[in-house]
């Protein structure tokens, strides 16, 4: 029978990996900043910034909400939408 780990156990197990991912993200942002030009108008950059805000949110289901942030909208009337 599977017994889920406690939050503390999960934190113990994931801490170093999580830390490494955060440092990697920070270094990537620094690398972008060091480059010539400013990507702030690039919609992808805006999405990444929104993603960082989503990470810091207190609500759960972050992975699914992060996926939706990077998803195109779905129109249930797509059958009749001539632009699809």
């Amino acid at each position: 029978m599977f017994t889920p780990c406690s939050a503390a156990e999960t934190l113990d197990r994931e801490f170093l990996t999580f830390r490494a991912k955060l440092v990697d993200l920070a270094a990537t942002l620094d690398r972008i900043d060091r480059g010539e030009g400013t990507p702030t108008a690039d919609p992808r950059y805006k999405l990444l910034r929104q993603g960082l805000e989503l990470l810091a949110a207190q609500e759960g289901d972050r992975a699914s909400r992060m996926q939706m942030l990077f998803s195109l909208p779905y129109d249930p009337r797509w059958r009749t939408d001539t632009s699809t």
């Binding site: 029978m1 599977f2 017994t3 889920p4 780990c5 197990r13 992975a63 699914s64 992060m66 996926q67 939706m68 990077f70 998803s71 195109l72 909208p73 779905y74 249930p76 797509w78 059958r79 699809t84």
Partner: protein, 274 residues
């Protein structure tokens, strides 16, 4: 522990891969027809590829004690030219009765265009008219949610569909619930940079249960790992899941799904009936 990789493109892998997969416990693979990294120039190219999948790759796998099954179809990336796609679809029936052909797949959407939808409807009709199971490729990245919803809309509007004989593949956190609530199997693909990681896949097992989940490597010619399923098994073990739970996801489930295909001929190494 033995495992099954229910989605891997063996034609793109080396014999070294097959050897190490066998040593890690792989006893059965399923190879869907797919885009080989370039658009084929004619129907004959597809015909030869279908022969490769049904004649040559099973022998290559058998050399390593791995049983090889296959899905027949035309992928979404080569579905935009509807006329050409229909010529390829006309080739498929002669292959569907071959041993260990599991059904029609991987079919689906890529950029979710009207032409892709027209080709997909023809493939779904072929599958249903010949009582085949179906394996659906869902789009990459930003197109995945929209494309998955469109595929499920198409299936919901087709009364002949039995969702228990359908796998919606490459599910992620935002699409897995959609596939399961539609009554379909949900496939999860483990990729190094896109799709899912072993850790996120274990999360989804814990959140949604493993009753109708299939975990695969989808290893092909791009960045991918033919040992992704054992990596997932190791992650599950680290997180406290017992052997029975792991076996259900990586062995019992794919076996149960494949058994519903009329041409499936696998004999498990432990002698249990397939």
């Amino acid at each position: 522990m033995n495992f099954i990789d229910p989605h891997i493109h063996i034609a793109s892998r080396t014999t070294d891969d097959l050897a190490v997969m066998a040593r890690m416990g792989c006893v059965l693979v399923a190879e869907p027809a797919f885009w080989m990294g370039y658009d084929r120039s004619g129907t004959n190219s597809f015909h030869d590829y279908f022969r490769q999948l049904t004649e040559w790759e099973p022998r290559r796998c058998a050399n390593y004690g791995i049983h090889h099954c296959v899905w027949m179809g035309i992928n979404a990336k080569e579905a935009e030219d509807v006329g050409f796609a229909r010529e390829v679809i006309a080739e498929l029936p002669q292959f569907l009765d071959r041993p260990d052909v599991l059904g029609v797949g991987e079919i689906g959407l890529h950029k979710c265009t009207k032409n892709e939808v027209a080709t997909l409807e023809a493939l779904i009709d072929l599958a249903l008219s010949s009582n085949e199971q179906m394996l659906f490729h869902t789009p990459h990245l930003e197109d995945k949610y929209k494309g998955t919803r469109m595929i499920l809309d198409l299936l919901a509007n087709e009364p002949r569909v039995d969702p228990a004989r359908v796998c919606i593949d490459h599910c992620e956190e935002h699409t897995i619930r959609l596939a399961l609530e539609a009554g379909c199997w949900a496939g999860i693909t483990l990729y190094p940079t896109t799709k899912a990681t072993p850790e996120r896949t274990a999360d989804m097992v814990e959140l949604y249960g493993s009753e109708r989940l299939l975990v695969n490597s989808s290893a092909d010619w791009g960045p991918s790992n033919p040992l992704a399923v054992p990596d997932f098994m190791f992650t599950m073990r680290k997180r406290g899941h017992g052997p029975a739970a792991i076996r259900q996801t990586v062995y019992d489930n794919p076996l149960r799904f494949m058994r519903a295909s009329r041409n499936f001929r696998f004999t498990p190494p432990d002698g249990s009936s397939a």
